[in-house]
C-alpha cells in the first residue's frame, strides 16, 4: 500500500470532463486526464484492505489493491501487468465501466471511494504510451482451431486468451469491422475507436485471425463451422432489443437506440455504407425512452447532432439523490446517476409510461404519456399503477427506444446450430460454458443476457479456460 494514511490526507479528485460548450461540438472523448502526480495521490487513497471489497465486486476481480500500489510507486509495467492478468482490455473498462468496484470500495462507507476506474484508465494509457504493452504470441502452437463468433468484449476475450494458450483462433464478425458493441454500440465520445484499433493490432500480431463482414450462419454455415473447427464459441451478444408495442409503433421516426448509435458511430468512422437508414436528430425534438446507459448515450449523441430538444423517459421512479456515501454498502444502492451526456442538456422524466405514439403522415409527432406510481403488493413485489388524469402528450419527432435487450438473435446461426435456449431466450449454458451442442461454447451476453462490458470480458476469460480444459485432454 502506497501510503497508509493517504485516504486521510488526500480527497477524491476526478479528472472531470471537457467543458460542455466545447465537447458537444465533437465526438471526441469527453473525459480528461489528471497529471501523473495527482493520479499517484489518488492511488495512495487505496487502503489495501484485508478484504478488498472492490476486488470482490469487480466482475473480472481485478487485483485493484495490488495495481493501486504499483501505480502509487509509479511502476507502470507492474500495474499494467496486474491489470492485464484479469482483464485483457482495461482500456475499454477504464472508460466505460460503471465501476461496481467504487460502489463497494470500503471508503464508500463513510467517505468518497477511490477513483478506481480512472486509475485503471490512467495505467493502461501510460503503459501504451510507454510501449509496455506488447504482443505476446504463444511460444508453441497447438494443432487445434477455435472459431469465435462475435467480436465484442466477450468474443475478443475468448480469442485473446485461447490464442495465447496456443490455439489457432479465427474471429468472425458480421459487421464490417471488429469490435461488436464496443465499436458500434458505444459512442466515440465515451470510447474512441482508435482505442479499439490499437488493441486489435496487438491481438492480430499475436496471431488471431479476424474475419469481419462474415456472418456466421449465413456466409458461413453452421455445418461448415462444426466441420472446420475443434471448438466454436458463440459470443454474439444479446442483440434483440426490447420493443415497445403501443399504438403508433409503426409510425416513422421511431428507432431502436442501437440503430441510432451505430449509425453515428459509422459516420464518425467514415465507413458509412449506402443503404443504412439515415437517423439524424438535427433540429428535432428527440425523446429517448429508457433511462439506462444506452439511453444516456442516445442523449449525448442527439445533442451532438444538434437536436432541438432531448427528453428522456424512465418508467421507474426517481432514485434517491446521491448521499455521498453508500448506505447499502457493500452492495449497490440505486442512486441518481447523472452522466456527462445528461449534463449536456436533457429533460429527464421519471415514473412516466408511454401510452401511444401520435403522428401524421406516418411520421411520429407526439407521445402520449401518463404518470405512474410504484407500490408494493401483498407479496412484497413492486406494482405499477397509472395515476388517473395525468395523461398528456409531449413532442417527439424522433423516438429512440433504449429499453434494453431481450436475448440474442435466434435467427441464423443459433437456430442453425440448434442450440437450446433458456427460459429467457438466452443460449442455455451447461457447466463450463458449453451449450447443448458438442464443441459449441457460449460467452458473454448471449449466455447471460445484456450486461456490462466487464461482465462480458470475464465471461470470455472463463469460457476460454473451459474451452482449453475441453480441448486439452
Amino acid at each position: 500500500m502506497g501510503d497508509p494514511k493517504g485516504f486521510i490526507k488526500i480527497r477524491r479528485k476526478e479528472a472531470g470532463y471537457r467543458p460542455i460548450y466545447e465537447r458537444i461540438r465533437d465526438f471526441s472523448e469527453v473525459e480528461q486526464t489528471l497529471n501523473t502526480e495527482d493520479r499517484k495521490l489518488q492511488a495512495s487513497r487505496c487502503m489495501d484492505c484485508g478484504v478488498p471489497f472492490c476486488h470482490w465486486a469487480c466482475p473480472v476481480h481485478s487485483k485493484i489493491p495490488d495495481w493501486q500500489d504499483a501505480l502509487y510507486r509509479g511502476d507502470w509495467q507492474e500495474a499494467s501487468d496486474l491489470l492485464h492478468a484479469t482483464n485483457d482490455f482495461p482500456e475499454f473498462t477504464g472508460r466505460v465501466c460503471p465501476a461496481p468496484c467504487e460502489i463497494s470500495c470500503t471508503l464508500a462507507i463513510n467517505d468518497e471511494s477511490v477513483t478506481i476506474r480512472e486509475n485503471e484508465a490512467a495505467i493502461v494509457e501510460r503503459a501504451f504510451a510507454d510501449g509496455l504493452i506488447k504482443p505476446r504470441p504463444p511460444l508453441v502452437r497447438k494443432n487445434k482451431k477455435v472459431a469465435v463468433i462475435g467480436s465484442g468484449p466477450a468474443g475478443l476475450s475468448v480469442a485473446a486468451r485461447l490464442n495465447r494458450m496456443g490455439y489457432s483462433v479465427e474471429v468472425f464478425e458480421k459487421d464490417d469491422a471488429i469490435g461488436g458493441l464496443l465499436r458500434y454500440g458505444i459512442p466515440d465520445f465515451k470510447l474512441s475507436k482508435n482505442v479499439i484499433d490499437r488493441r486489435l493490432n496487438i491481438l492480430e500480431e499475436e496471431g488471431i485471425s479476424f474475419r469481419p463482414g462474415v456472418e456466421a450462419g449465413k456466409d458461413l454455415s453452421a455445418g461448415d463451422l462444426l466441420h472446420s473447427f475443434d471448438a466454436i464459441c458463440v459470443a454474439i451478444g444479446a442483440g434483440k432489443p426490447r420493443d415497445l408495442n403501443i399504438p403508433g409503433r409503426d409510425l416513422n421516426g421511431i428507432h431502436f437506440a442501437m440503430d441510432f448509435l451505430s449509425f453515428q458511430n459509422k459516420l464518425v468512422q467514415g465507413n458509412f455504407q449506402n443503404g443504412s437508414p439515415d437517423i439524424k436528430a438535427k433540429n428535432k425534438d428527440v425523446v429517448v425512452i429508457g433511462g439506462g446507459d444506452t439511453g444516456s448515450d442516445c442523449v449525448g449523441t442527439a445533442n451532438r447532432q444538434g437536436a432541438r430538444s432531448v427528453t428522456q423517459l424512465e418508467i421507474l421512479s426517481k432514485p434517491e439523490e446521491n448521499k455521498g456515501y453508500n448506505p447499502n454498502w457493500p452492495w449497490p444502492q440505486k442512486n441518481m446517476k447523472t452522466s456527462s451526456s445528461h449534463e449536456e442538456g436533457c429533460k429527464r422524466m421519471w415514473s412516466v409510461a408511454s401510452k401511444q405514439f401520435i403522428g401524421s403522415d406516418n411520421q411520429v409527432e407526439e407521445i402520449e404519456i401518463v404518470d405512474v406510481k410504484w407500490e408494493k403488493d401483498e407479496n412484497g413485489r413492486m406494482q405499477m399503477k397509472e395515476l388517473p388524469s395525468s395523461k398528456r402528450t409531449i413532442k417527439a419527432d424522433l423516438v429512440l427506444l433504449a429499453m434494453g435487450f431481450v436475448h440474442p438473435v435466434h435467427e441464423g446461426l443459433l437456430d442453425n446450430l440448434k442450440v437450446e435456449y433458456d427460459q429467457r431466450g438466452n443460449v442455455k449454458g451447461k457447466s463450463g460454458h458449453q451449450t447443448s451442442v458438442d464443441k459449441v461454447f457460449v460467452a458473454g451476453d448471449a449466455l447471460t443476457g445484456a450486461n456490462l462490458v466487464v461482465t462480458a470480458t470475464y465471461s470470455g476469460i472463463q469460457a476460454a479456460r473451459n474451452i482449453d480444459r475441453y480441448l486439452d485432454i
Binding site: 497508509p4 487502503m47 470482490w56 511460444l139 495465447r164
Partner: protein
C-alpha cells in the same frame, strides 16, 4: 488403571509435565546425623504448597528424599553388611503380583551374579500404607530393598551396580510380565539411597518408617516435591532420580533424546568397556524430561566425567560476549558445544553422588534457588527461603544460584566450591582454547574473492512457480523483510482454511504448527534478553565419541549465522583444502513418474546420505538447484527430515551434518522447520533471487547487499522468536528438537518421515504430497508463456480465486446489515454464508455433524439464558478505540454476558453506572504479562479475572502497543507515558511453571475473593495436560483459545503457523480433564472464529460452556477486516486512536445485542433439533458428534476425527461439565487475622500497629487486607501509614502483593519471590536483623521478580535481591543494595535505586522511569542493555534531591550501614552514582517541562484575539 494411561482420543502421555519444589540440607564437613534427615523432611513439609494434590485430595503428585546409606541402621535391622563402600543397596518398586515381583528379584540375583556381585539379602521395606491417599495406595507397588556386595573398589562397584540396573531394566522392559510398567529401580548404589513415592510432601516421612529412626543418619538430604499436570498415580515419576532432582522443564528434550540416541553407536569408554552395550540406550523410554536428563548425567558420570563436568556440558551457561566469564571457561564451553547440544529450558537442578551435593541453574535463571549457610556448617538450599528457620545471627551467608552458575559442597573435603573455582578447574583440565585455535575455522572469516551470481537466470519465473511462490507472498512477506529487516506484522485472525482443506496448492511447510510454551515453562524474550540467545553452530568432523576429551572434537567449521548467502555456500562446497569433505546430493525427482517418483527420489537421497557417512564426509549439501521440466524439487522439509530420520535409524546421524541449498524456503516458518527437523545451514537461493529482482526493478530502494543482509537478519530474528517461544535459547538445542506438530498429514507418513511428531486428524500421505509438489511444477514448466502476475495465494489478504476466507464480503455485509437493521432474514443469510465456508470444510468443525432427535422449539430454554454464556474477546482499550471498547461492554452488560478489558487496564470511571443507567464496566479483567493498568482497584472491580497465558494469534510471544497509539488517556489507564511504545514480555515473569501459576491464582483470589479466576490458554498439542495442571492450581475457569483468533498486531508467521484450531485444543482439554476427574470443578471457555449457531453447538458438544466472540462482535460495530489495526488507520473508527477516524465509529450496543440475540435463537433452534431443552445438557456430549461422510476431495479422503469426537470411557463416572466449586481459600490465612486486627483503621481510619511472626508458607500476605481497604476506600485507599504491620521471619511468596496505599509492611528477616507484586501505593520495608552475622549488602534477602507490575508505593530492601528487580514497574519507588540480572526490565515508570552491583542485561526494554545505580567500579555500561537507555551522571538538582531523599529514607527505615556510609560521604559518593534513563522517556519529560514553562509564560502575555 495402572500408571500413565495409554494414549486415547487426544490425550497423549508424552505431554505430561511437572514442576516442583526442591531443596537440600548438607553438612559441609560431612558430619552425619539424623538431624540432617529430619531437616530435609522439614524442608519438604515447608514446600508443600509447591506440590499438588490430585482429584483425590489425599494423593500427592510425588515426594522423595536422597540420603547417604545409613549402614548402621540397616545393620540394626539384622542385615550383615560389609564395610562402607563395599556394598550397595537399592529400593525397588515391583509388580503387585507376587509372582511377577519374585521374577524381578530372581533376575536381579541372576544378573548380579553374572557381574560378580553377591546378593546379601532382600528386605521388605517397612511402610505404613494408611498414611497415603487412596489412589496412591491402590497403585502401590511391592517395595523391596536389596543389598549387594563385592570385593571391589567403590568406584568400580558403583559402575557394576549401574550396569546391573540397566541390564535388569532392559530385561524387564522387554519381558512378558503383565505388570512390568510398575517395575522401577528407585536407586541402586553404594553411596546413596532414595526413598520416594506417590505422596504429598508430608506423607513421605510417615510412609517410610526407616526415615524416622534415630540411626538413619546422613550428611546430606536431597528432597523433592512434585507438582504434576496429571493426576494419574505414577510412583516412579516422583523425584529425586538417581543423581538429581529438577525443578523446571527441558524444552528441547525431544531433540536431546534423538541426538543421544543417534550418537550411541559411537559411544566408547574404557570405564564401561564392552559392557556399554548392556547400558545403552542411555535414556529409558517413556519417562519424564527430568528422568532423561538424569539418565544422561548418570551415564556421563559412570563413563568417567566428573559430576560438575557432566553438568556443565549438559546445561552450559550463556557464554557469548555479553557474559562476564573468563576466556578459558568460554573455550571450555565452546569446545563442548561442538558436540553436545544444551539441554535447554528452565531448570534448577540439585544433584548429588553421595559425596558432592550441589545445584545448577539454567542460563536464564528461570527457577528460584536460594541458599544459606549457618554458623554450624549447615548448607540449606531450596526453591524458597524460610523452609528451615535460622535466626540471622546464626547465618554466615545468604545467597542464591545465579543464572548458569553452579555451587557444590564437597562433604569429604569439607568445603564449598563456588562457581568460579569449579569452572576454572574444568577449564584447566585440557588446553581447550589451544585446541580450538588450532582446529576450528570460522566460516564468516574465510576470504573468498570470486563473485557468485544471485539471480537464477531466465527461468526465474518458472522456478518461482515450481516452488509455489506467489505475488502476495513477495509483496507481503519477502519485500518487507528485505525492506525493514524484520518480519511483517499482520492483524486480525487467520480465517483461511487449514492447509489440508485448502483448494490452493500448499507447501508442505503449511501442514505444520509451531509449539509454544505455556504455563509449564516460560517463553523467552528473544529481543530484550538476547544476552542468552545464540544461533552459532558448528559443522564438520563430529566427534567419534563424546566421552573422550580429544583435540579433534574442535576440528569444526563454526558459523555465526545459519542462513547463508550463495557466496558462503560456494565456500562450503570447496573446503577440501582445509580438510573438510562434502558431497552435494540433488533433491529432485522425476516429474513424469508421478508421486512414485517422489518416493524413489527420497529413497535415493537417503541412500546417498548414508553413503556419504560411510565415505567419511563431514557434511552433505542437499540441493534442489537444477529443476527442469523433467526434474521437480522434493519438498525441502521432506528431504531434510527424511535424511535426518533415516540416519538416526541407522545410527549414522551424528557423524554428518546437513546443509541445504534450496529455492523453497522464504518465510521464517520455513527456516524454523528446516532447522527443527535437522538442517544445520540453509542457503535460500530463490529468496535471494527474488530480492535481487526487487532491487533491479527498484521496488527496493537499496543496493542488493543491504537488502540481502536485511532479509537474513529478519530470518534470524524470526528464528530467535520461534525458538524462544518454546523457551529454547540456542539453535544447537533447537535443531532436531521438532518443536512442531502436524495437522492433516497421516500417521504413517509422519511416522516414516517426521518420526516423533504429533499429528492431528490424519490426512495426506506421500502420494498426495507428491501430487501437491507436481501441480505447481507442471504449471511452471508449461509450454506456453507463463504469467506470474496471476499467482496469488490470498492467505492473509482476501483475493478472489485464491484462498477462501470465513470473513468475506458476503459474511461481513450480511452480518452488518442484520445487526444494524435488526433483520433476522439477513442474519440467516450471514449464518448460511458463514456455515458454507465452515462446511467446505474451512474449519475442523466443518468435518463434524451431529445426531438429531428433534423436539418442539418451545420447550427449549429462552435466548436470555443462552446469551449469558457469551463473552466478547479480550481486546484492550488501546488497541480498540474508546467508543468500540465501551460499546461492547455496555452491550454485554445488558445481556448479562461478559466483556473483557483485554490487556490494558480500564478507566476507573467506568466502574460506576452512568446517570443514564449505562454500565460500561467490563466484567472480566485481564491480567497479562505486561500488567498494564493492573492496580488493586482494577482487580477488586472484577467479576472474573483472566490470566492471559497466551493469545491465539501469537501464543508464546509478547506484544507491543506502538507509541503512536499511546495517547494521554491510554497512557493514564496503563500507567505509562504518552507516545512511548509499550512492551508486553513473552512470559509472565511470575509464571515460569505450573506451581507459579497456582501461586498467581492464589494471589488473585486473595486480592479479590469474590472473583472467579480464569486462565487463558491457547490450543496446541498437550494443552489438555496443561489445563489439568491449571485446574489443580485452583482456577475456576479455563479458556482454550483457537489459534485462528484475532489480534491487533502479530508477526504474520505467528498468526498463521502457531497453535492449533480451537476444536483440537478444546476436545483434548475436555478429554484430559474428564480422564483426570478434574472437569467438574472448572468452566471451559473457548473462542477462535466462532460466528454462528452451528459453531457454538459444536463447541458445546466438544465441551465448552462459554463462548467468545471477538471479530464477530467487532463486525457488528463496523469492523470490515481492513487488517490495519497495527497502523492506527482504521477507517471505521474501531481500532484506532486517531480522533478524526474515531468520529467515523457508528457502532451501537444494540447492534451487538441484535447479533447475539439472533445467534442465541439460532442455537435454540439447533438444541430443538438435537432434542435438548437446555444448553447445559449438551456440554461435553461429543458422543453426539460424528464425522461427515459426504466430503469427497482427493486431499480429504483420509481425514479422521475419531480422536476429536472421542468420548472418554471415564465420562461414565466422572463429571463432564462444571458442577462443583474449587476449594475456597483456607480459614487460617494470616490476612484474615490482619483484617481483624486492623478493624479500627478499616472502620474509622485510626492508625493501627500489628505484629506477627511470619514463615514461607504465609503467602500473598497483605493482598486480602488490601482488598478490604479498596472495597471501603476505593482507588485512593487510606492515608499513608494507617495500618502498620511488623513481621519477623521468612515471608512466603508475593509478600505485600497489591498492597494498597495506607498500609505499611515492615519485615525483619527475609522474603521469597514476587515481593510487592502489583504494589498499589503501599509501603514495604525488609531489613536484616540488627544482630545478623552477615553483611546485608553482600547477602540476598529477597527473591526474584520484585515489584512486578507495581503501579505505586515504596519499597526499601536492606540487602540484595534476585533477578528482575522492578520488572515492569510503572510507578513504585524502590531502594535495594544490589540486584541480579535483568534489573528494571520493561520498566515504564517509577524510580529504582540500586546501591550496589547489578547483574547482566540491566534496563532491557526499559521505556520509562529512572534508575540510580551506585557504581564505583564504573562498569555499568557492560551490564546495561543500551538499546533504550542513556547513562548519565547526576547533575540535575531534581535528581539530587530525589536520590538523597530516598537514601535517607532507606537509612531511616532499615538502618542500612551501606546507606549510612554513602550519606556520610555524600559529595564523594555522588560521583559514583549513574542515572539510567530511557531516552524516549527523557525527551517526553523535557517536552513536558517546556510545555509547562510555555503555559506559565503565556499566562503573563496579553490575550491574543
Amino acid at each position: 488403571m495402572a500408571y500413565l494411561p495409554p494414549n486415547s482420543g487426544l490425550y497423549n502421555r508424552q505431554n505430561e509435565h511437572d514442576n516442583c519444589g526442591i531443596g537440600f540440607v548438607a553438612h559441609v564437613k560431612g558430619e552425619r546425623s539424623h538431624g540432617i534427615v529430619e531437616k530435609g523432611l522439614e524442608v519438604l513439609a515447608n514446600l508443600r504448597h509447591r506440590g499438588a494434590e490430585g482429584a483425590d485430595s489425599n494423593t500427592g503428585d510425588g515426594a522423595g528424599i536422597t540420603i547417604q546409606i545409613p549402614r548402621e541402621y540397616y545393620m540394626s535391622q539384622g542385615i550383615d553388611l560389609p564395610e562402607e563402600g563395599r556394598f550397595g543397596t537399592g529400593i525397588l518398586f515391583l509388580p503387585q503380583v507376587e509372582k511377577e515381583a519374585q521374577y524381578c528379584l530372581d533376575k536381579l540375583k541372576e544378573f548380579a551374579e553374572e557381574k560378580g556381585l553377591e546378593l546379601i539379602t532382600t528386605r521388605e521395606v517397612p511402610v505404613d500404607p494408611n498414611e497415603i491417599g487412596d489412589l496412591a495406595r491402590e497403585e502401590q507397588p511391592i517395595i523391596r530393598q536389596v543389598f549387594l556386595k563385592a570385593d571391589l573398589s567403590q568406584d568400580i562397584l558403583e559402575r557394576k551396580l549401574f550396569i546391573l540396573r540397566r541390564k535388569l531394566e532392559k530385561h524387564i522392559e522387554t519381558s512378558g510380565l503383565k505388570d512390568k510398567e510398575r517395575f522401577y529401580v528407585v536407586s541402586l548404589s553404594s553411596k546413596v539411597v532414595i526413598y520416594k513415592g506417590l505422596f504429598t510432601s508430608l506423607q513421605l516421612k510417615n510412609f517410610y518408617k526407616d526415615l524416622n529412626d534415630e540411626r538413619t543418619i546422613s550428611a546430606i538430604a536431597l528432597v523433592h516435591s512434585r507438582y504434576s499436570t496429571n493426576t494419574f498415580p505414577t510412583w516412579d515419576l516422583a523425584q529425586p532420580f538417581r543423581m538429581l532432582c529438577h525443578n523446571g522443564e527441558i524444552n528441547s528434550v525431544q531433540g536431546n533424546k534423538y541426538w543421544m540416541h543417534a550418537r550411541s553407536s559411537l559411544l566408547k569408554t574404557d570405564m564401561l568397556g564392552d559392557e556399554i552395550n548392556e547400558v545403552l540406550p542411555v535414556i529409558q523410554p517413556d519417562k519424564s524430561d527430568s528422568a532423561a536428563l538424569d539418565n544422561t548425567l548418570e551415564f556421563l558420570v559412570q563413563s568417567g566425567k566428573t559430576l560438575p563436568h557432566a553438568m556443565a556440558m549438559l546445561i552450559p551457561e550463556s557464554w557469548n560476549a555479553r557474559n562476564p566469564i573468563p576466556d578459558n571457561v568460554k573455550a571450555f564451553y565452546e569446545y563442548h558445544s561442538t558436540f553436545m547440544e544444551p539441554w535447554d529450558g528452565p531448570a534448577a537442578v540439585l544433584f548429588t553422588d553421595g559425596r558432592f551435593i550441589g545445584g545448577l541453574l539454567d542460563r536464564n535463571g528461570l527457577r528460584p534457588s536460594r541458599y544459606l549457610l549457618t554458623d554450624d556448617d549447615l548448607m540449606i538450599m531450596s526453591s524458597e527461603v524460610g523452609v528451615l528457620e535460622v535466626p540471622d545471627k546464626h547465618v554466615k551467608e545468604k545467597g542464591r544460584l545465579r543464572p548458569g552458575k553452579i555451587l557444590m559442597v564437597d562433604t569429604l573435603e569439607g568445603k564449598i566450591n563456588y562457581d568460579p573455582e569449579v569452572k576454572q578447574e574444568l577449564a584447566m583440565q585440557k588446553p581447550y582454547a589451544k585446541w580450538l585455535k588450532e582446529k576450528e575455522i570460522t566460516l564468516d572469516d574465510i576470504p573468498f574473492a570470486k563473485k557468485i551470481p544471485v539471480g537464477v537466470g531466465q527461468d526465474h519465473d518458472r522456478m518461482l512457480l515450481s516452488f509455489g511462490y506467489t505475488l502476495d507472498e513477495i509483496k507481503y512477506i519477502i519485500h518487507p523483510m528485505a525492506q525493514d529487516a524484520k518480519e511483517p506484522v499482520g492483524s486480525m485472525g487467520n480465517d483461511a482454511p487449514l492447509a489440508v482443506a485448502s483448494k490452493m496448492p500448499q507447501r508442505l511447510f503449511n501442514y505444520f504448527r509451531q509449539h509454544f510454551a505455556q504455563v509449564t515453562n516460560p517463553a523467552i524474550d528473544s529481543i530484550r534478553e538476547e544476552v542468552i540467545m545464540t544461533l552459532t553452530g558448528y559443522i564438520g568432523s563430529h566427534q567419534k565419541n563424546l566421552l573422550n576429551d580429544i583435540p579433534d572434537h574442535a576440528r569444526m567449521i563454526k558459523f555465526l549465522n545459519p542462513v547463508i548467502t550463495n557466496k558462503y555456500l560456494e565456500i562450503l562446497k570447496n573446503l577440501k583444502y582445509k580438510g573438510f569433505f562434502t558431497t552435494t546430493i540433488p533433491i529432485l525427482f522425476d516429474a513424469h513418474a508421478g508421486p512414485d517418483g517422489l518416493k524413489q527420489g527420497l529413497e535415493k537421497i537417503c541412500r546417498k546420505a548414508e553413503q556419504a557417512v560411510d565415505e567419511g564426509k563431514d557434511y552433505i549439501i542437499l540441493s534442489d538447484r537444477g529443476i527442469s521440466k523433467d526434474k521437480a524439487p522434493i519438498p525441502s522439509l521432506l528431504a531434510v527430515s527424511a535424511v535426518h530420520h533415516h540416519l538416526i535409524k541407522k545410527q549414522k546421524r551424528i557423524q554428518i551434518d546437513i546443509v541445504i541449498e534450496t529455492g523453497e524456503p522464504r518465510e521464517v516458518m520455513h527456516f524454523a522447520l528446516l532447522f527443527g527437523y535437522g538442517a544445520s545451514i540453509i542457503n535460500p537461493y530463490m529468496a535471494f533471487a527474488v530480492i535481487d529482482q526487487l532491487v533491479r526493478e527498484h521496488k527496493l530502494q537499496m543496493d542488493y547487499y543491504t537488502a540481502e543482509a536485511h532479509y537474513t537478519k529478519a530470518v534470524r530474528k524470526g528464528i530467535f522468536k520461534i525458538m524462544s517461544k518454546m523457551g529454547t535459547s540456542t539453535l544447537r538445542s533447537y535443531r532436531g528438537a521438532q518443536l512442531f506438530e502436524a495437522i492433516g498429514l497421516n500417521r504413517k507418513f509422519v511416522d516414516e518421515y517426521f518420526t516423533g511428531t504429533a499429528s492431528a486428524i490424519e490426512g495426506l500421505g506421500l502420494e498426495e504430497i507428491g501430487w501437491e509438489a507436481l501441480i505447481p511444477h507442471k504449471k511452471a514448466f508449461s509450454d506456453q508463456r507463463i504469467n506470474f502476475n496471476q499467482e496469488f495465494q490470498g492467505t492473509s489478504y482476501y483475493r478472489y480465486d485464491s484462498e477462501d476466507h470465513a470473513w468475506n464480503p458476503e459474511t461481513i455485509g450480511y452480518l452488518q446489515h442484520a445487526a444494524w437493521n435488526n433483520d433476522q432474514e439477513l442474519y440467516k443469510k450471514f449464518s448460511e454464508a458463514s456455515d458454507r465456508f465452515t462446511w467446505a470444510p474451512g474449519f475442523v468443525r466443518g468435518f463434524l455433524d451431529f445426531n438429531r432427535n428433534p423436539i418442539d422449539i418451545s420447550k427449549v430454554e429462552p435466548a436470555e439464558n443462552i446469551m449469558k454464556r457469551f463473552v466478547t474477546g479480550a481486546m484492550s482499550f488501546g488497541s480498540l478505540s474508546k467508543e468500540a471498547h465501551e460499546t461492547l461492554a455496555i452491550a454485554m452488560n445488558r445481556i448479562h454476558g461478559k466483556s473483557n478489558t483485554g490487556e490494558g487496564g480500564e478507566d476507573s470511571r467506568r466502574y460506576k453506572v452512568t446517570s443514564k443507567g449505562e454500565n460500561k464496566r467490563s466484567a472480566i479483567k485481564q491480567i497479562a504479562s505486561g500488567r498494564f493498568g493492573v492496580t488493586t482497584h482494577y482487580l477488586v472491580n472484577a467479576d472474573e479475572i483472566q490470566i492471559k497465558i497466551a493469545q491465539g494469534s501469537k501464543p508464546g510471544e509478547g506484544g507491543q502497543l506502538p507509541g503512536t497509539k499511546v495517547d494521554s488517556v491510554i497512557a493514564k489507564t496503563r500507567n505509562s507515558t504518552p507516545g512511548i511504545t509499550l512492551i508486553s514480555p513473552p512470559p509472565h515473569h511470575d509464571i515460569y511453571s505450573i506451581e507459579d501459576l497456582a501461586q498467581l491464582i492464589f494471589d488473585l483470589k486473595n486480592v479479590n475473593p469474590e472473583a472467579k479466576i480464569n486462565v487463558k490458554l491457547v490450543s496446541e498439542f498437550g494443552v489438555g495436560t496443561v489445563a489439568a495442571g491449571v485446574a489443580k492450581g485452583g482456577a475456576d475457569s479455563i479458556a482454550v483459545s483457537g489459534s485462528e483468533g484475532g489480534t491487533g498486531a502479530s508477526p504474520l508467521s505467528s498468526i498463521l503457523h502457531a497453535g492449533l484450531p480451537m476444536e483440537l485444543g478444546l476436545s483434548e482439554t475436555q478429554q484430559t480433564l474428564v480422564k483426570n476427574n478434574l472437569r467438574d470443578r472448572v468452566v471451559l471457555y473457548t473462542d477462535g472464529q466462532l460466528k454462528t449457531g452451528r459453531d457454538v453447538i459444536t463447541a458445546a458438544l466438544l465441551g465448552a460452556e462459554e463462548y467468545g466472540f471477538a471479530t464477530g462482535a467487532l463486525v457488528t460495530v463496523g469492523c470490515i477486516l481492513l487488517r490495519k489495526c497495527n497502523l492506527n488507520t482504521c477507517s471505521v473508527g474501531v481500532c484506532t486512536q486517531d480522533p478524526k477516524l474515531r468520529e467515523r465509529f457508528i457502532g451501537k450496543p444494540e447492534h451487538v445485542i441484535n447479533y447475539f440475540r439472533f445467534l442465541a435463537e439460532e442455537i435454540r433452534h439447533y438444541l430443538a433439533e438435537l432434542g435438548f431443552t437446555k444448553m447445559e445438557d449438551i456440554i461435553g456430549r461429543s458422543d453426539l458428534l460424528f464425522q461427515r461422510k459426504d466430503i469427497d476431495h482427493w486431499k480429504l479422503r483420509n481425514i479422521s476425527l475419531a480422536d476429536v469426537t472421542h468420548f472418554p470411557p471415564e465420562a461414565r463416572e466422572n463429571g463432564i461439565r462444571k458442577s462443583v466449586d474449587q476449594k475456597p481459600l483456607p480459614d487460617d490465612l494470616l490476612d484474615r487475622r490482619l483484617i481483624e486486627e486492623a478493624e479500627p483503621a478499616l472502620s474509622s481510619q485510626k492508625t493501627v500497629n500489628i505484629s506477627h511472626e511470619i514463615q514461607n508458607t504465609n503467602r500473598a500476605t497483605g493482598a486480602m487486607l488490601s482488598y478490604k481497604v479498596d472495597k471501603l476506600y476505593g482507588e485512593k485507599g487510606l492515608p499513608d501509614d494507617t495500618i502498620n504491620c511488623y513481621f519477623k521471619g521468612s515471608a512466603g511468596q508475593s509478600f505485600g502483593a497489591f498492597l494498597k496505599s495506607g498500609i505499611t509492611f515492615k519485615l525483619e528477616g527475609q522474603s521469597n519471590d514476587y515481593l510487592g507484586k502489583g504494589l498499589s501505593g503501599g509501603k514495604i520495608i525488609v531489613k536484616t536483623a540488627d544482630d545478623a552475622a552477615f553483611d546485608p549488602s553482600k547477602n540476598i534477602i529477597i527473591g526474584n521478580t520484585t515489584l512486578y507490575g507495581a503501579t505505586g508505593g515504596e519499597v526499601y530492601i536492606n540487602g540484595l535481591c534476585g533477578e528482575r528487580f522492578c520488572v515492569r514497574n510503572s510507578g513504585a519507588t524502590a531502594v535495594v543494595e544490589g540486584a541480579g540480572d535483568h534489573c528494571c526490565e520493561y520498566m515504564t515508570g517509577g524510580v529504582a535505586v540500586i546501591l550496589g552491583e547489578v547483574g547482566r542485561n540491566m534496563a532491557a526494554g526499559m521505556s520509562g522511569g529512572i534508575a540510580y545505580v551506585y557504581n564505583p567500579n564504573g562498569d555499568l555500561d557492560y551490564f546495561c542493555n543500551m538499546e533504550m537507555v542513556n547513562l548519565e551522571i547526576i547533575e540535575d538538582f531534581e535528581d539530587l534531591i530525589t536520590l538523597k531523599k530516598l537514601i535517607q529514607n532507606h537509612h531511616e527505615y532499615t538502618g542500612s550501614h551501606l546507606a549510612g556510609r554513602i550519606l556520610d560521604n555524600w559529595e564523594e559518593s555522588l560521583k559514583d552514582f549513574i542515572k539510567v534513563i530511557p531516552f524516549e522517556y527523557k525527551r517526553h519529560i523535557e517536552e513536558q517541562k517546556l510545555q509547562e514553562l510555555n503555559q506559565k509564560i503565556n499566562k503573563y502575555l496579553p490575550e491574543q484575539e
